[in-house]
């Protein structure tokens, strides 16, 4: 059985939920949880719970945080060192970037943003054509690199807890010196990223005014959701473009999508149709969204959403 390396994403000293999902995808494999430029000890127990046999605490000389290339070199070295047959990660913005660099270094195939993986068969499933089709791909290479779409796999603790033995690995790699992160600009109000949130609640044109998004924020806070907007709402000036879900905005695939006052036009639907569960709340019982969701409530969002928030 080949070893499966999983790049773990850590934030505020805790493993991100999405990484547990990736570990679940590798259930049954010999999992090498890879912690890069962080402290594996802090997250050892959780990683063991989700099946990590080994936890590799990767370090390198040089400023890892300033150089994606150096990080990639370190990861690539780890793959070689521990003869990992598979390297998995989350298709977050950093994950996508890092894995592409690693794949280029190793000259091995990479499939990004997958929703399913069969490590034994070396096949993966992902969306092609903006969510209109699923493609099953066969990967031919010595190492299978794959990033999984955030929240596409439901995290399930391993049936047999992993040993979780920590190994220290100082990668003997050098920064090619081509790029360097010189600054990180932070937005004070750090919101949960729409594309990574496990739950998304969207307000459509019926929201009627920008300040009414507060009502959705209140609901979102309770369930750890991100707030989105439909194109109509953005066009009407109720929300900024960065909140737009849809063909010309962001594509999301949360486990729960709640559409409030969204009519459900084709273009919006394209941006969220792979959500696991879709709930729609709309005043118009004939709104197209009701033929495309799992659960529907015909009603005024200004009545339903606060009531829902209260019950959560």
């Amino acid at each position: 059985m080949a070893r499966t390396g999983i790049l773990i994403e850590i934030e505020n000293n805790a493993v991100k939920e999405t990484s547990f999902g990736v570990m679940t995808a590798a259930a049954g494999e010999e999992i090498y949880a890879l912690v890069l430029d962080d402290d594996a000890a802090l997250v050892k127990d959780k990683l063991a719970e989700y099946g990590a046999a080994v936890i590799v605490n990767i370090t390198a000389s040089g400023e890892l945080s300033k150089s994606p290339d150096l990080q990639a070199q370190a990861l690539a070295a780890t793959v070689k060192e521990y003869q990992l047959g598979t390297l998995l990660g989350t298709a977050s913005a950093t994950g996508r970037d890092l894995f592409a660099r690693v794949a280029a270094i190793l000259d091995e195939p990479l499939v990004s943003d997958c929703v399913q993986i069969n490590i034994t068969e070396k096949t993966v499933k992902k969306s092609h054509f903006s969510g209109k089709t699923f493609a099953t791909l066969k990967v031919k290479g010595s190492v299978l690199l794959c990033t999984l779409r955030p929240n596409s796999i439901e995290p399930v603790a391993a049936s047999g807890k992993g040993a979780g033995n920590i190994i220290e690995f100082l990668a003997n790699v050098a920064d090619p010196g081509l790029i360097q992160i010189v600054e990180i600009k932070k937005d004070t109000a750090a919101k949960l990223d729409l594309t990574e949130a496990p739950i998304v609640i969207t307000g459509g044109r019926a929201i009627k005014a920008a300040e009414n998004y507060k009502m959705l924020e209140a609901c979102a806070q309770k369930i750890g959701a991100a707030v989105g907007a439909s194109r109509a709402a953005v066009d009407a000036g109720f929300a900024p473009h960065s909140m737009q879900v849809g063909q010309t905005g962001k594509t999301v695939s949360p486990r729960l999508y709640i559409a409030c006052g969204v009519s459900g036009a084709v273009q919006h639907f394209a941006g969220m149709k792979t959500s696991k569960v879709i709930v729609a709340i709309n005043e118009d019982k004939d709104a197209p969204i009701f033929s495309k969701c799992d659960y529907g409530i015909v009603g005024d969002i200004f009545d339903v959403v606060p009531a829902l928030t209260e019950k959560l």
């Binding site: 084709v266 004939d286 197209p288 033929s291």
Partner: protein, 805 residues
């Protein structure tokens, strides 16, 4: 989904939804609409959204007016926005022929009370500052029309439809249609079957396939139409009032404002027919790939007229399939020969007409007749010659000419000839300039040797004028042959024939063998349905002749009214019997030479029919005609036409027998005050208003009697008169407003130059108080008022002495 319905509408585009909305709104319960994908996902969602009053037809203009009236209040009624903007519109002209055409529209629009005015190039430049008016002679401006968002408008009507109780079923595809023994329809879908009384085919791109389910072939083919949305233009964005829509028909483009920019649409020379063998059922909401090369000429033409377009980027080029028919007008109304099956398809300007046609078609379905005469869009105006091959050829010619100048005397060459009389080659040899009448090649006039065989399209007297005059004078003085083989001919026979005919016409069916009677068929309100002449052959056999272009329409009416007990049999003789009409003072002399029998006045009275051998051919000769001379309609087996023709020409040589064409015939019938179907005889008038009131026999029952009695009681609202007009080089044609002392008192129904009386003539309906001969009034022709006066009818041979000689 309902399994029983009053009406099932197939197709959820603008047209289908409008029909469902109106039927439900006007009170019918159990209205079901079936849409195979989502509303608007065929042609509607990609339409440009122009909604103008303009249309060449007086009646279609009314449909458009109704649409605008509906769209303007739809948001208030349904709570759903339609995106309606009142921008007004301009139609330009860069040549004299086009200016004449605009003159016709101006006058015709005045009959409808529309606010329309002639505008000079300067005025157009003020109304539309982005327009380069170089080369323009002028234009027409309507302030009250505009544009709408097709998808929103349809959704608003859908909301309304649901509000009034209609059931709209999406993702439900019709897979078959059958007729039950009861006459009800069984509409089969992939989600279950529905039994219903009425079916409306509003399936747009798929309408031909739906028609096939009931055994019909309809002339509708899709062509990709392109329009371009430009990027934001500051000069547009900065405006306070919206720009009017502009159509430059000579450049074959239209331009309208869309938010902060402009949309340019065009009708290019090579229309790309799309999926002409059938549009795939799963096609939905898909833009086609635009072919910029194919439309480059039109884009450049648009840039000439609107220079700013050259400096503005293309934001989005939309190419989408739209259906076209052989004359660019839709297919609406009862589908012959079926009962309770209506067409509402073949639309290429569907957004403009959706609101209005939903209203009028709903009325048609609910009341049995349309509120206004919808013959211009009636699906039965195309004969059986309009099959698939004809369509693909004809439509290729129609598409680039959608903006071509409309001339009343133009007959396009494309997809011709189709039906020809056996003597066609002889007509050709005689230098016939042919017109196309319901698929039949029929000579309009005969040109002298050496002259080009082409009539210049024009609103004024054309190069044919002189030759037509010669033919009329020849008929008046000598003898002529008119080919009316295209007449629609129907045999009605059986034990119930006479009673049934008495039921279906207001006239008393002849009691004597060999008698002929002018026998109009009326609708249930007493208005003219068909212009029919009945010849009694025997107690149980009748020979009925109706207008050639009305064949499908008239035979459909007869068919749906036939009794079910088999006592009346209907046979179509149109293609079995030819008709050559011999007219003129010398006509009897010609005939005498070749017949076996006595054709003297004593033996063969006017308005009687006899079976006579003409040469070796057994013919039925009806002693009547449409030109008001001594004359004989010679009906003969069609395969013997050439024999009859030779006999006539042999005998006629010494009398200088010549061919006479349609233009001459029309001139002469005007002089006699003879009515034409769909000109004088239409859905708006009863015989009581005309000079054929005598055909109404009130001492019997007939379809329409109640309407006639009502009108008799109330008094006729309008009266048919003949006017002599002081015209210059353009004669009245029809749809000319008639004014007296500044007030519009009526409208012409047809007109032309009477060569025998040498006067410009119009027939028209006016308020009865002005109908006395001698009353002076004005007739507006091409925008100019002309003096006119009511005269006693008929102008020519008032005592009918010639006919009866």
């Amino acid at each position: 989904m309902k399994t029983n319905a009053r009406a099932v509408i197939i197709g959820g585009g603008a047209i289908g939804v409008s029909v469902a909305y109106h039927l439900a709104k006007y009170g019918w319960k159990d209205i079901v609409l079936l849409e195979k994908h989502e509303l608007t996902s065929g042609s509607t969602w990609m339409a440009a959204g122009n909604v103008s009053f303009y249309h060449p037809s007086f009646y279609c203009t009314q449909i458009n007016m109704k649409s605008i009236e509906i769209y303007k209040q739809l948001e208030q009624e349904t709570g759903q926005s339609t995106g309606w903007h009142t921008t007004g519109s301009i139609r330009t002209a860069d040549n004299p022929g086009r200016m004449d055409e605009l003159g016709y529209y101006y006058s015709m629009n005045r009959c409808l009370g529309l606010d329309v005015s002639f505008v000079s190039p300067e005025e157009m430049g003020k109304l539309h500052p982005l327009m380069n008016t170089d080369g323009l002679l002028g234009g027409l401006y309507w302030p009250d029309d505009g544009d709408v968002d097709p998808a929103s408008m349809t959704q608003a009507m859908a909301k309304g439809a649901r509000k009034y109780g209609a059931e709209l079923n999406l993702h439900t595809r019709v897979t078959g249609i059958e007729q039950k023994k009861s006459g009800e329809w069984l509409v089969k879908t992939d989600k279950g079957d529905i039994t219903c009384e009425f079916v409306v085919n509003a399936a747009g791109l798929w309408a031909p396939q739906v028609s096939k389910m009931v055994g019909l072939e309809i002339p509708s083919i899709a062509i990709a139409h392109t329009h371009i949305l430009y990027e934001k233009i500051n000069a547009v964005e900065d405006r306070d009032i919206m720009l009017p829509l502009v159509r430059d028909p000579d450049k074959s483009v239209y331009l309208r404002q869309e938010m902060d920019s402009l949309i340019l649409g065009m009708y290019e020379a090579k229309g790309q027919q799309w999926k002409k063998n059938g549009v795939p059922w799963d096609y939905a909401q898909q833009e086609l790939s635009p072919d910029i090369d194919n439309i480059a000429d039109c884009i450049e033409a648009g840039m000439e007229r609107f220079p700013i377009l050259g400096d503005t980027g293309f934001k989005h080029v939309t190419a989408g399939p739209i259906t076209y028919t052989p004359n660019g007008d839709p297919l609406v109304g009862p589908a012959a020969p079926l009962k309770n099956f209506f067409q509402a398809c073949g639309y290429s300007f569907g957004i403009t007409q959706a609101g209005g046609i939903g209203h009028y078609l709903a009325g048609w379905i609910m009341n049995g007749e349309p509120e206004i005469d919808l013959w211009p869009v009636d699906s039965r105006r195309f004969g059986s010659h309009a099959n698939w091959a004809y369509n693909t050829e004809k439509i290729a010619d129609v598409y680039p000419r959608l903006y071509a100048t409309f001339f009343p005397n133009e007959f396009r060459d494309a997809a011709r000839p189709n039906r020809t009389s056996p003597i066609y080659e002889y007509q050709k040899k005689a230098n016939a300039v042919f017109g196309d009448y319901y698929g039949w090649e029929c000579p309009n006039y005969f040109a002298p040797e050496g002259e080009v065989l082409y009539e210049t399209p024009s609103w004024r007297r054309s190069n044919a004028f002189e030759h037509v005059g010669n033919e009329c004078r020849h008929t008046m003085n000598k003898a002529g042959i008119i080919d009316l083989t295209r007449f629609a001919k129907t045999k009605i026979s059986g034990p119930g024939a006479k009673d049934w005919l008495n039921h279906i016409t207001c006239q008393r069916v002849p009691e004597k063998d060999g008698a002929i009677a002018l026998s109009p068929m009326l609708d249930h309100k007493g208005h003219f349905k068909s212009d029919m002449t009945i010849t009694r052959v025997s107690e149980e056999e009748f020979f009925c002749v109706t207008a050639s272009v009305g064949k499908k329409h008239d035979q459909h009416w007869m068919l749906v009214n036939l009794p079910s007990d088999g006592s009346v049999q209907m046979d179509d003789l149109t293609y079995k019997i030819g008709c050559l009409v011999l007219v003129g003072p010398e006509s009897r002399k010609v005939l005498e030479k070749i017949v076996y029998g006595d054709v003297s006045n004593a033996a063969f009275k006017f308005s009687t029919s006899q079976q006579i051998y003409v040469g070796r051919t057994k013919c039925r000769i009806n002693r009547m005609n449409y030109v008001g001379e001594l004359g004989f309609e010679i009906f003969h087996p069609i395969e013997q036409q050439i024999a009859v023709y030779h006999a006539l020409m042999e005998a006629g040589r010494q009398f200088d027998l010549k061919f006479i064409g349609m233009h001459a015939m029309d001139s002469m019938r005007l002089e006699k005050g003879y009515l034409a179907w769909k000109s004088e005889m239409n859905v708006h008038h009863t015989p009581l208003e005309t000079n054929v009131a005598w055909t109404v026999k009130l001492d019997k029952e007939f379809i329409g009697k109640q309407g006639i009695l009502k009108q008799k009681e109330k008094g006729i609202p309008l009266k048919l008169v003949c006017l002599v007009v002081d015209a210059k080089d353009s004669d009245p044609w029809g749809y000319n407003p008639i004014f007296k002392d500044g007030e519009r008192i009526g409208m012409t129904s047809s007109g032309g130059y009477g060569h025998r009386v040498e006067k410009s003539i119009a027939l028209g309906y006016i308020k009865p108080e002005f109908a006395a001969p001698g009353t002076k009034m004005n007739v507006e022709i091409l925008g100019r008022e002309r003096n006119a006066q009511v005269v006693t009818m008929p102008l020519y041979d008032p005592k009918n002495e010639k006919m009866k000689s």
